[in-house]
């Protein structure tokens, strides 16, 4: 099982280590550092690194490498999932997951890690349970603790730990009972030179924020559940009911959680909400290149495309870019050759464009590669797959909760080849 954990910052220093079995010398990380040096980009460090006696499995999150050390055959996905859980917990507890935040709360971090894993076996990873065992630090609590000498470690066995609904604690009370659901879809696509779609798929999630008193039992039904043929549920969802009736029935955890994630595969037709007209050319023998880019909306069901950000990694040979945006601002980093253009909202009447020239090294030959264009955007009040919630009902409690559903579509990895 998981033997040890090392946290490594961007400059390659180990700033925290935790061992669940015997102590493993931190020199084991030298193999990690070697791999890190070989990788051209920080994210190119291979996730599984063998060393003579151990295996290092790492994830990079928030510019911190979480390096787990294992000694025997352990499923790597198990380790990676656990590391994600550690990151999520830190974020949950401290708001951000940074080196500074971790150092500021090192004792809580240590207590948490101890609580999450016992001898390498996961013990308590549900945020609800952890929060009952170890109270998250808040300014108020820190002050109260200092004055009264009380502690932020729970004295009692968390109630949810062993119940049939381990994700929910008992005795929850709210004055305003509310349940909000966000349907968020990310569209991943590759669009080729001519504007036709090579591949497009939708990753959707339904995130919930449920603040309901007692033990509510919720059901959520959809107008078009047939869309959801590839889904992953939170453990609270009753799978049998879904299989039989296509209805989500569950006792929700308290607070924020991800109810389900789904995937609308590339075999379905996916609507592409924006189009790009581009003309990026270099001429042989000339030290100038032309850059011409226009964006426009497409298949958005009348909703506005907002927060548009276009970025492109220009070829190495480009020295500078002299461009003229019709709206928004652009920046070009001459070191990384990264061009980014903050467009804002697309106005269908006056399409945003970015035009101008790029200067190349004099005498250099024409670059071989064609830059890809990455686009980010948001569309409020629409789920691009067409998924719609039909109704939300609550059983088991008497009060009337306040309910709300929000839809949003975002660009995931949305790439246009030129």
């Amino acid at each position: 099982m998981i033997h040890s954990l090392f946290l490594v910052n961007a400059s390659g220093d180990i700033f925290l280590e935790k061992h669940w079995k015997s102590v493993v010398s931190r020199s084991v990380c030298d193999y990690f550092f070697e791999a890190q040096e070989r990788a051209t980009e920080p994210e190119n460090v291979p996730p599984v690194i063998p060393t003579p006696h151990h295996y290092l499995i790492s994830v990079l999150r928030h510019r911190i490498y979480f390096v787990a050390v294992i000694q025997s055959e352990v499923p790597p996905l198990f380790v990676i999932e656990f590391l994600h859980r550690v990151v999520d917990t830190f974020q949950d507890y401290f708001g951000v997951c940074t080196e500074a935040a971790i150092k500021d709360n090192v004792v809580v971090v240590y207590e948490l890690l101890e609580e999450m894993l016992d001898n390498g076996f996961p013990l308590a990873t549900e945020s609800n349970i952890l929060k009952e065992l170890i109270k998250p630090p808040t300014i108020l609590r820190t002050m109260v603790n200092t004055i009264t000498g009380s502690t932020n470690v729970g004295e009692q066995l968390p109630t949810g730990q062993l119940s049939v609904v381990p994700w929910r604690r008992t005795g929850v009370k709210y004055t305003n009972n509310e349940a909000y659901f966000d349907v968020v879809e990310e569209i991943d696509a590759i669009i080729d030179k001519s504007g036709s779609t090579i591949t497009a798929e939708i990753q959707g999630v339904i995130d919930a924020c449920v603040k309901l008193t007692g033990m509510p039992d919720l059901t959520l039904s959809f107008m078009n559940p047939r869309l959801l043929d590839d889904v992953s549920f939170h453990p609270c969802v009753r799978f049998k009911r879904w299989e039989a009736e296509r209805i989500l029935s569950f006792i929700p955890p308290d607070g924020n959680f991800r109810l389900l994630s789904y995937h609308v595969s590339s075999q379905n037709l996916v609507a592409i909400p924006v189009y790009v007209k581009h003309n990026i050319t270099f001429r042989e023998g000339s030290s100038q290149g032309r850059f011409d880019l226009t964006l426009g909306p497409k298949q958005t069901m009348g909703k506005a495309v907002e927060s548009v950000l276009v970025s492109s990694q220009l070829p190495r040979g480009v020295l500078n870019a002299n461009l003229n945006p019709s709206q928004g601002t652009y920046t070009f980093d001459p070191v990384t050759k990264m061009l980014s253009w903050d467009v804002g909202k697309i106005n269908p009447q006056k399409l945003p464009s970015l035009k101008g020239t790029m200067s190349l090294q004099a005498g250099a030959s024409k670059p071989d590669e064609n830059p890809s264009i990455n686009i980010q955007f948001k569309i409020q009040q629409m789920a691009i797959s067409g998924l719609k919630v039909n109704r939300l009902d609550m059983y088991g409690e008497k009060y009337k909760p306040f309910k709300g559903i929000k839809y949003m579509t975002k660009a995931g990895k949305f790439q246009v080849r030129t």
Partner: protein, 985 residues
């Protein structure tokens, strides 16, 4: 007010200050001090000096303080074992606490303190906690058993904790079940044969029930455990599959992949015509696709596993090609994996899309990725015939870009395309030749040289091109040198008139100026071939090449099956069996997929052919490019044969080539008394100067090429003779005429043959890339023989066998080369008897009769060790005179006498004596005292050591007593073992 303040106290005297604070009366100050200590510990500072002070803080009601002290204890107890004892009392007390949280915490922490003295005290509290009323305590205790087992396995077994743990599998609480399974699995890993997780339908049912209710981590443990179960029949298999399928929708990717593993394994048992089978196949695709939308690290692990799944069951993902398309900002490790899977999924239906993508990738920035993309285009051409033309034109487009590494990769793959589709695309050769100068990588140079040699007749200036390479011959890598040699010989055979000078030049470069034995050997062989019989040479060198296979880099079916059983593990990421690399696993069992349920239907059903296409029509695996010696047939760069069922190695040419190395050489040497073994492919500088040993007869007529070489005519003849004849005349596995004589002479007088132990597997196929060797030793007619059964369990033909021994106690060495005359085709088994001499170098081994062996074939060199019965070494003239025996017996000091018991032997003394005589143990005298027969026996080892024995046999008592006396008492143990073996067989 943050914890970072704890980091700031780095001034001198810090420890001293902390000590004072820890001993403070104020609770608050104490706690702050412990926090500081912990903070120092986390950044790797040594605060072990504070041990007694911190332990003093342990007896407190404050849970946080207690936890902090426990944290400290776990870190430092090992370095202060005596001090740690101080903590025991508190632990024991806490295990009785009314609060289950504290009970669990105490037992959990105790297990983490890896100090022997503490573990003694742990047993009683642990026993109680395992039966605690609170499931939280029970599940913590279950893990504690695993911890304790890690520290002191014996203790855990003695205390019966393992049985208690097994009982917990039937616990009412699913979390306890999951943890018990996890603990047992971890313990089982270090005891592969302990049968701890004895799975039967009842336990499986309990596990499946718990599966639905426990946490995600517990589900992983249970699923991994389920995967080790083999259902009794397809009904049970199906019912398990049905209950596992919902796990595919879990949010935790590790749960999903573990579920995939269980399903992939149990699916094997389902009849293919079952509706459910098709449903299951359909259900597997979406979760796998979803894994690819996760974080890149998860994607990587998922892709490595998908690579296995696609090889085993390509139909699952055949419609999902698009999800493997590469995004330009994917990390490089994800890109390379995706590319690999794209090629595996490429088919006629999607090839257009795939090619368009690959062409796009070939213009990206990352060099490694671009190279792989170009190579992939070539692989597509070979795999999907309809696309070959487009692939070639795509490759030509890429060559026009003149990007150096793209051109080189393109040329390497075009060479394979030429092999696959001969006489179809040769029009592009002109374009290739234009880029000759820009090639600087050995592989690309070698490929280009091969092309020039192969199509020499179509390239007008082939001789000039090759000559240009020849200038820097000695600076080239071996690969290029060998290729150049072959190419020029081909050129010579095609255009003999203009290229004599060139061929002479290359042959002398290869044979005289090179230190590389491979190159020299090949040079000599060509030289002799050309000098004796140019027609035969033409037949050999310009032989029609076997087809190359469509699939490349496939994992061997046996390994693939094992890896499918390990989906989701490290083994699946590395595509190696766990036994090959996981250190902690002491002797991992090899897992196998269960057989299909319907008897033999898997072969008949037409459906399976496509389903199991991978395993049933095994395409050859392209061997690594480094294997150059392997094949003289100018096929160095290209895969050896096979498509469809493994052909009988009938291609006369190949046999011929084999023979040149094996039969031919040996036959010559066989005429002399002792044939030297073929050197293993190491750097032993042994060149064909063997020829000097053979007498050089006067009627040697030099041909124009071979004249200055001084080779023997016999040698030349052997090489030149029509190859197909050779194997027949040397098919007898026993070599050396001398031995045959013995065989005839000795065979008559022997009443009973010498004892030879049954064959055992010396080298499992798993360790030797598919070559399995089992064998034994025998003494036949005075000659020690190593009798081996070689089985080829790989998918490609094995050739070029050779054997060598390490130095050993009795100087055993092969007396002749390993006579494997014909290539060993897949699934073929061959029996070989290797005569051994005892004049090899001597080194004392431990145990004495240990023999370390290296066997080489065209694939690799493999090592194994085996033990021979010492009775092999008992010589025929080991009978001592009675007087001498008595004198010697007295002469050897009593200290050298060793006494042993042979149990359960039901022979009478005469039968025993007879039996032993068969193995050259001679009875010199027999005496009967009080119903007890005393046999006095002698034997002599090959190295002249005499061993004297007194065997006491009492009628009716199956136990014999044997006393051995020898001047070298080390051998006594071995001799006794041989006695026992001989008498009992």
């Amino acid at each position: 007010m943050t914890d970072s303040k704890y980091f700031t106290t780095t001034k001198k005297g810090e420890i001293f200050e902390l000590k004072a604070e820890l001993n403070s009366d104020k609770k608050e100050k104490k706690k702050e001090a412990v926090k500081k200590v912990i903070a120092s510990m986390t950044v790797g500072k040594d605060v072990s000096a504070l041990f007694p002070d911190v332990v003093n803080c342990m007896q407190t009601d404050n849970l946080e303080l207690k936890k902090l002290v426990y944290l400290y204890l776990m870190n430092y107890a090992k370095s202060q074992p005596d001090m740690a004892i101080m903590a025991v009392n508190t632990f024991v007390k806490d295990c009785e606490d009314p609060n289950p949280l504290i009970r669990a915490l105490a037992v959990r922490t105790m297990g983490c303190i890896r100090v022997d003295k503490i573990t003694e005290y742990l047993c009683e509290p642990l026993r109680k906690c395992l039966k605690d009323e609170d499931p939280y305590v029970r599940k913590t205790a279950a893990v504690c058993v695993a911890k304790l087992h890690d520290i002191n396995a014996q203790l855990v077994e003695d205390q019966g904790f393992l049985d208690t743990l097994k009982d917990l599998i039937s616990d009412s609480n699913p979390m306890v079940v999951a943890n018990a399974v996890a603990a047992l699995s971890e313990i089982a890993e270090s005891h592969p044969n302990s049968n701890l997780l004895d799975l039967n339908p009842q336990t499986i049912n309990k596990l499946l029930t718990a599966l639905n209710e426990c946490t995600e981590w517990g589900q992983i443990f249970i699923l991994d455990c389920l995967a080790n179960y083999t259902p009794r029949d397809d009904r049970e298999s199906q019912s398990i599959c049905e209950r596992v399928t919902p796990r595919l929708s879990h949010a935790n990717s590790a749960v999903v992949l573990s579920a995939v593993k269980v399903l992939m394994k149990f699916m094997e048992m389902l009849p293919k015509d079952l509706d459910y089978y098709g449903t299951l196949l359909k259900k597997l695709a979406p979760p796998l696709v979803t894994l690819l939308s996760a974080e890149p690290e998860l994607q990587y692990v998922a892709l490595r596993n998908i690579n296995l799944i696609v090889q085993r069951r390509p139909e699952i993902l055949k419609h999902e090609m698009k999800v493997f398309f590469v995004k330009y900002n994917d990390p490089i490790y994800v890109k390379l994996e995706k590319l690999d899977i794209m090629i595996r999924l490429a088919s006629q239906a999607n090839i257009a899309q795939v090619l368009a993508e690959l062409k796009e990738y070939a213009t990206e920035v990352d060099v490694d990725f671009v190279r792989k993309a170009v190579r992939a285009i070539g692989r597509c051409a070979i795999k999907v015939e309809q696309s070959a033309e487009r692939c070639v034109s795509t490759l030509l487009d890429l060559i026009q870009t003149k990007v150096n590494y793209v051109v080189q990769e393109a040329i390497v793959v075009i060479k394979d395309i030429f092999r696959k589709y001969p006489n179809k695309y040769e029009s592009v050769i002109a374009t290739l030749c234009e880029n000759l100068d820009s090639l600087d990588e050995p592989e690309a140079r070698a490929a280009m040289i091969w092309i020039v040699g192969e199509y020499a007749e179509r390239i007008d200036n082939a001789d000039e091109l090759l000559e240009s390479f020849l200038e820097g011959f000695h600076d080239e890598s071996t690969q290029v040198q060998l290729q150049l040699l072959t190419a020029i010989v081909k050129l010579f055979l095609k255009k003999p008139t203009e290229t004599q000078e060139l061929v002479q030049q290359v042959l002398s470069l290869a044979t005289q100026d090179s230190d590389n034995p491979d190159l020299r050997d090949r040079g000599y062989i060509y030289w002799r071939l050309l000098s004796t019989d140019p027609v035969a040479a033409k037949e050999v060198v310009l032989a029609e090449k076997p087809l190359i296979s469509e699939e490349t880099d496939l994992i061997e079916p046996t390994l693939l099956e094992e890896l499918i059983c390990h989906i989701g593990t490290l083994a699946s990421v590395y595509h190696k069996p766990p036994s090959a690399f996981v250190e902690g696993s002491r002797g991992v069992q090899h897992k196998r997929l269960p057989g299909s349920a319907g008897s033999g239907e898997s072969v008949d059903s037409p459906d399976t052919v496509s389903a199991a296409g991978v395993s049933e029509a095994p395409p050859a695996v392209i061997p690594s490019q480094g294997d150059l010696l392997g094949d003289l047939l100018n096929l160095d760069l290209t895969p050896p044969t096979t498509s469809g069922p493994p052909p009988v190695p009938s291609s006369g040419m190949q046999m011929g080539a084999m023979d040149l190395l094996g039969g031919g050489l040996d036959s010559l040497m066989g005429d002399e008394s002792e044939p030297p073994p073929i050197p293993l492919r190491t750097d032993t500088p042994q060149s064909p100067q063997l020829s000097h040993q053979s007498p050089s007869p006067p009627d040697y007529s030099p041909t124009e090429l071979g004249g200055d070489l001084g080779g023997s005519p016999a040698m030349g003849a052997a090489f030149g003779a029509p190859p197909a004849v050779m194997p027949a005349s040397f098919s007898a596995p026993v070599s050396g005429g001398l031995d045959d004589l013995f065989d005839l002479g000795g065979g008559v007088g022997m009443p009973m043959g010498a004892y030879s132990p049954p064959k055992t597997i010396w080298l499992p196929a798993m360790k030797a890339k598919g070559l399995e060797i089992s064998g034994t030793f025998a003494r036949r007619a005075g000659v020690i023989q190593m009798e081996m059964t070689l089985t080829n369990k790989a998918m490609s033909v094995m050739t070029d066998f050779a054997i060598q021994f390490n130095r050993n106690s009795f100087g055993l060495a092969p007396a002749g080369p390993l006579q494997v005359l014909t290539p060993l085709s897949p699934n073929q088994t061959i029996e070989v008897a290797l005569p051994l001499s005892t004049v090899g170098p001597v080194m004392k081994m431990e145990p004495l009769s240990n023999l370390q062996v290296a066997v080489k074939n065209n694939i690799d060199v493999f090592y194994f060790s085996c033990q021979y019965p010492i009775s092999m070494l008992f010589v025929e003239d080991g009978k001592m005179e009675r007087q001498v025996f008595l004198a010697t017996w007295k002469d050897i000091p009593n200290d050298n006498e060793a006494q042993f018991q042979i149990k359960d032997c039901h022979l009478n003394s005469d039968a025993a004596s007879n039996k032993l005589q068969g193995s050259n143990v001679f009875t010199i005298a027999k005496r009967t005292v009080e119903g007890q027969d005393m046999l006095y026996q002698s034997m002599k080892l090959t190295n002249g050591i005499w061993v004297l024995a007194e065997l006491r046999v009492q009628a009716g008592n199956p136990n014999y007593t044997i006393s051995l006396k020898c001047r070298a008492p080390e051998v006594s143990q071995c001799v006794f073992q041989s006695y026992e073996a001989i008498l009992k067989n």
